[in-house]
């Protein structure tokens, strides 16, 4: 796939100070590809994590690639509510989507990067109710899913909250079928 943007520098992830940080993989790059069309809107972003090493690694990655990004340690978007309600133009979530036993879900270490519990949906499902609250009238929400997460059901769930969604990009990575879902507010007619 031809790209207008060079692949970011990220060699520091997964080693030394950042050995407890899950390295970018197919899912990360798929999300980047999906975002390129909206690149101009992506300035002055914040990001959140529960893993302090991951947040520091993100800060370093941003700096290596000359972009402005503010990491905050918080559970999902907790500390950004209610201030960001109705104000988010672009919302991204690459969740821990791997199907795992539920007990593996509450980690704040490297497992938090992938452990999604039942159907790989436990963390995603905690986050979904916030999406409709956060998005501005023209806001977009991007979510990475695998087939096991039942993306069609996620689309139906968010539809009940007035958000229209579809798969905008997908690929195979090993034995995972990854899709980027993109949502926006249903237009009032």
């Amino acid at each position: 796939m031809c790209s207008g943007y060079p692949t970011p520098v990220y060699a520091h992830a997964g080693r030394g100070d950042f050995r407890d940080v899950y390295e970018p993989a197919q899912d990360s790059f798929l999300l980047i590809d999906a975002l390129e069309t909206d690149a101009e809107r992506l300035r002055g972003m914040s990001c959140s994590d529960v893993n302090p090493a991951a947040a520091q690694c993100t800060a370093k990655t941003a700096s290596c690639n000359n972009v402005s990004l503010q990491p905050v340690l918080t559970d999902l978007v907790e500390c950004f509510l209610p201030r960001l309600c109705g104000k988010v133009d672009v919302l991204l979530f690459n969740p821990p989507y791997v199907v795992t036993p539920s007990e593996e879900v509450s980690s704040r270490g490297i497992e938090a990067a992938w452990a999604g519990g039942e159907r790989g949906r436990e963390v995603t499902d905690r986050f979904l109710p916030s999406v409709a609250q956060l998005l501005s009238h023209k806001g977009l929400f991007y979510l990475i899913t695998i087939t096991e997460n039942d993306p069609e059901e996620i689309i139906r769930l968010l539809s009940h909250q007035g958000l229209e969604g579809e798969s905008c990009l997908s690929t195979r990575a090993g034995n995972e079928r990854l899709s980027v879902l993109r949502f926006h507010r249903k237009q009032q007619t």
């Binding site: 300035r43 914040s46 947040a55 520091q56 402005s68 503010q70 340690l73 500390c79 509510l81 201030r83």
Partner: protein, 123 residues
């Protein structure tokens, strides 16, 4: 932590009704040079709690001549936009903490990253 981010953060310690704005106690502050983008500043202004921004800049001793109220027709006022840009994007708290105005709970800032994670008993 830039002041744009600080403007968006709220404390959710159990029982707290209004955990905003957080008081800033900084031990290390840096001022960076960041490319001025007037469209970006204009887009951010409507999302800001202006008083909280002025208060935060004050607490850091970096308010300079930022006005206490939003000026009308700011979109065309480059002078004003540059002042807002400096306070939002160039002043950075590297070390210190954010204090919940109601509970007094302190959230540490380390290497520019605020840690708003609550312990199990605070949730």
């Amino acid at each position: 932590m830039k002041l744009l981010t600080h403007n968006m953060l709220t404390s959710h310690v159990k029982g707290v009704i209004k955990g905003y704005p957080l008081l800033i106690k900084a031990t290390e502050v840096k001022v960076n040079e960041v490319e001025f983008n007037p469209q970006f500043v204009c887009r951010m202004i409507p999302k800001l709690e202006w008083c909280a921004l002025v208060q935060a800049a004050d607490q850091l001793g970096h308010r300079q001549d930022l006005p206490g109220e939003l000026v009308p027709d700011y979109e065309k006022n480059e002078d004003f936009l540059k002042k807002v840009h400096r306070v939002l994007m160039e002043v950075e708290v590297l070390e210190g903490c954010l204090q919940c105005p109601e509970s007094g709970r302190e959230f540490p800032i380390s290497k520019g990253i605020p840690n708003m994670l609550l312990n199990e008993d605070e949730v």
